[in-house]
């Protein structure tokens, strides 16, 4: 009895060794970069993690083909290295000796890639299935490009500034014109009382707008020398 069991076990392991080996048919190489992804929070890759991996593969196969026959034991891992990289195959649940076609496994993984990544706290770059190329996520594009919004804000500020400055300039100009015409009108009516001294109004003297006549001699020459 024991002998039969041993024989059966060895047959199975030989069979699985044949099914799962590097570059076998329908086998995929997986490479994990746990330390790169998690740094200090990196977990060690041990048998429990391998179990989780097998479970995730089985889960993916079940979800994809929606026949709940794939078992954890159908997922075979081999050649685990320190890198952490290994090969795996998924055997057909009905017949243990053949492997599920690679295309099916690939499709199943693609469909569930997000779930698989999050189970291991990794990303597409740090959990690599070497034969399965990553699909690129489309960028999020808002309905109005952001730059147009900022441009709109800036442009409205500019227009407001121009309008304000032009209008205030026109108003100042009008006020100046009105003042000078008012003064002229009042002067014509003779109503403006301007104190006059020597024919020059005091206001203008105060405003220092008068010119000194440089032709007249300077102060110290006022008196002729004796």
């Amino acid at each position: 009895m024991l002998g039969v069991l041993l024989l059966a076990f060895s047959v199975v392991s030989v069979a699985s060794a044949e099914l799962c080996k590097p570059d076998a048919q329908n086998a995929f190489k997986v490479r994990l970069s746990i330390k790169t992804a998690l740094g200090d929070n990196a977990y060690a890759w041990d048998a429990n993690e391998e179990y989780l991996f097998k479970a995730m593969m089985a889960f993916a196969m079940r979800r994809y083909s929606s026949k709940s026959t794939t078992q954890i034991s159908n997922v075979l891992l081999c050649n685990v290295t320190d890198r952490v990289s290994f090969w795996f195959v998924v055997t057909d649940s009905s017949k243990n000796t053949t492997t599920v076609p690679g295309s099916e496994v690939e499709a199943a993984i693609r469909m569930n890639r997000n779930r698989i990544n999050s189970a291991f706290l990794l990303s597409d770059k740090t959990l690599q299935f070497l034969k399965i190329s990553t699909t690129l996520s489309p960028p999020v594009e808002p309905s109005t490009p952001v730059w147009l919004i900022v441009f709109g804000v800036v442009l409205s500020l500019i227009v407001a500034g121009i309008v304000f400055l032009v209008v205030s300039g026109i108003r100042k100009h009008k006020k100046k014109n009105k003042e000078s015409t008012e003064r002229e009108n009042l002067e014509e009516k003779g109503e403006v009382t301007i104190t006059i001294e020597n024919g020059i109004p005091c206001e203008t003297l105060d405003l220092k707008a008068g010119h000194v006549n440089g032709v007249f001699a300077a102060d110290d020459e006022r008196f002729t020398s004796l």
Partner: protein, 636 residues
Amino acid sequence: MVKLQLPNPGLEDRIPSHTELEVLEKEEADSRPKWDNKAQYMLTCVGFCVGLGNVWRFPYLCQSHGGGAFMIPFLILLILEGIPLLHLEFAIGQRLRKGSVGVWSSIHPTLKGVGIAAMCVSFLVSLYYNTIIAWVMWYFFNSFQEPLPWSTCPLTNNRTDYIEECAKSSPVDYFWYRETLNTSTSIEDSGTIQWWLLLCLTCAWGILYVCTIRGIETTGKAVYITSTLPYLVLTIFLIRGLTLKGSVNGIVFLFTPNVTELANPVTWLDAGAQVFYSFSLAFGGLISFSSYNPVHNNCEKDAVIISVINGFTSIYAATVIYSIIGFRATERYDDCFDKNILTLMNAFDLPEGNVTQDNFEQMQQLCNMTDPVTFASLNFETCDLKSLLSEGVEGTGLAFIVFTEAITKMPISPLWSILFFIMLFCLGLSSMFGNIEGVLVPLQDLKIVPPKWPKELITGITCAGSYLIAFIFVLRSGNYWLALFDSFAGSIPLLIIAFCEMFSVVYIYGIDRFNKDIEFMIGHKPNIFWQVTWRVISPLIMLVIFLFYFVVKVNEELLYSVWNPKYEEFPKPQKIGYPGWVYAIIVIIAGVPSLIIPAFAIYKAIRNCCQKRSDHTGLISSISETSVNGNLKNSA
């Protein structure tokens, strides 16, 4: 000392005398606009001098001409060339109290061409300079999102891969050449107007109009922000930069002196050209600005202070830029190294963390010994920090490609991007104030515009006209036109104008009279340093630089770089020659301002000779004023 003085009859009649100036000062009868305070004047001049060149030309020159050793020719030429020319422009503007056309035609009527040439150059430069500001605004508008649009390549239509042009070059290159400029492959291929750049150009000219609408009344207020903000941002970047890994490598690389470069004449030529262009001399703007000063303003002190600030800003900006470049180079080096480490690890299934940068070579040898066959099949990239650091880039390439890439690698990138582009915007805008001043004031002096028109209208028409002409720069080939204008409009004509300025002031106006003027204005005669530099040294330096420049430019084959995705060595830029008709345009751009000077002199001389009428310049404006009803009817 050279005592050459050309005959200049009638000079006394054209310029206000010292007593008149004194009167103007005391009675405040000057109808010219005035600065509100000294700070506005200093900030405006600093803003005009400190521009984009300090940020993206000087660091490149410094690094490529021997690092710290470049300081020597730069500082020497700053003292011998920059400060004297600056003092000259300040003094002559303050003394004659007119814009550039007015000043030169006061000195001698035949010299009006110098002022007109300066106006032309200011106009051509402001056309393309504002387009650069438009590009800065485009990047600024696009900085308000995370992740920044130039951090990743866009995907192709069926979402399978990155766009080929982007994958071959880099996301920042692609964003600049394709999504911003949408550049064509040659200057002849004009393409259509890029509407998004047109909107940004509208913004740029709009902001410029708002700030210059009433001349220095409005620019004086704007410079409080535009001249001070760049220093604040540079300091923030310095602090941020120093905390990044590898920044010190960049600074050390920048300032490591290589004294052998001093023997290379090109180093001195570049230093001289950089000092000259950095000071924005010969544009006419500085003369205008100082003509609004009070008569007894100490222009000597101002010249020295502004020169020192300009030099300091160049060095400070270079430090900041190279700290960030050092960071970027180190990041690239680390990426390159990590890729090599990954290659080795993956091939030999070594555990993570076993191979580091320090033991990489040992591990390589180990692996080679264990499995030479596999090892031979591996492809390792060469990673050289020095070559990454000396990827010297200048100009738009530095700001829009290298620096933006560095920003994407920093945490909170949108913030740094916004700050950086605000700084570039302020630097460019404050220089534009000087350029526009150099265009508007001569227009008024030449009496091309009716004096009754309000200032707002004249400024508006000038800005609108320049805006329409600047449409060339937002075509698909706009980048090439801009490079053309940059190389030819702002280089040779300025050197000629500056040389003529010095010559006119020293030998036609008379250095003795000039010395007396300065003594009248600031209280003491300029000392021997100024005498020597004004009479001999600075004109000589200008002449040498001009001759070198001219010879180099004329002899070199005119090639320009294009971005051609179909080029074999893409992403390297392809160098192609200009088509024939572009040569004609180059001659016009560089030749017209330069030739206006002799042309106008000849024209005036011919007119004087032909007209045998008596000289009417004997009539002086009368000093005694008639007053009717209290109104001064004849204001001077």
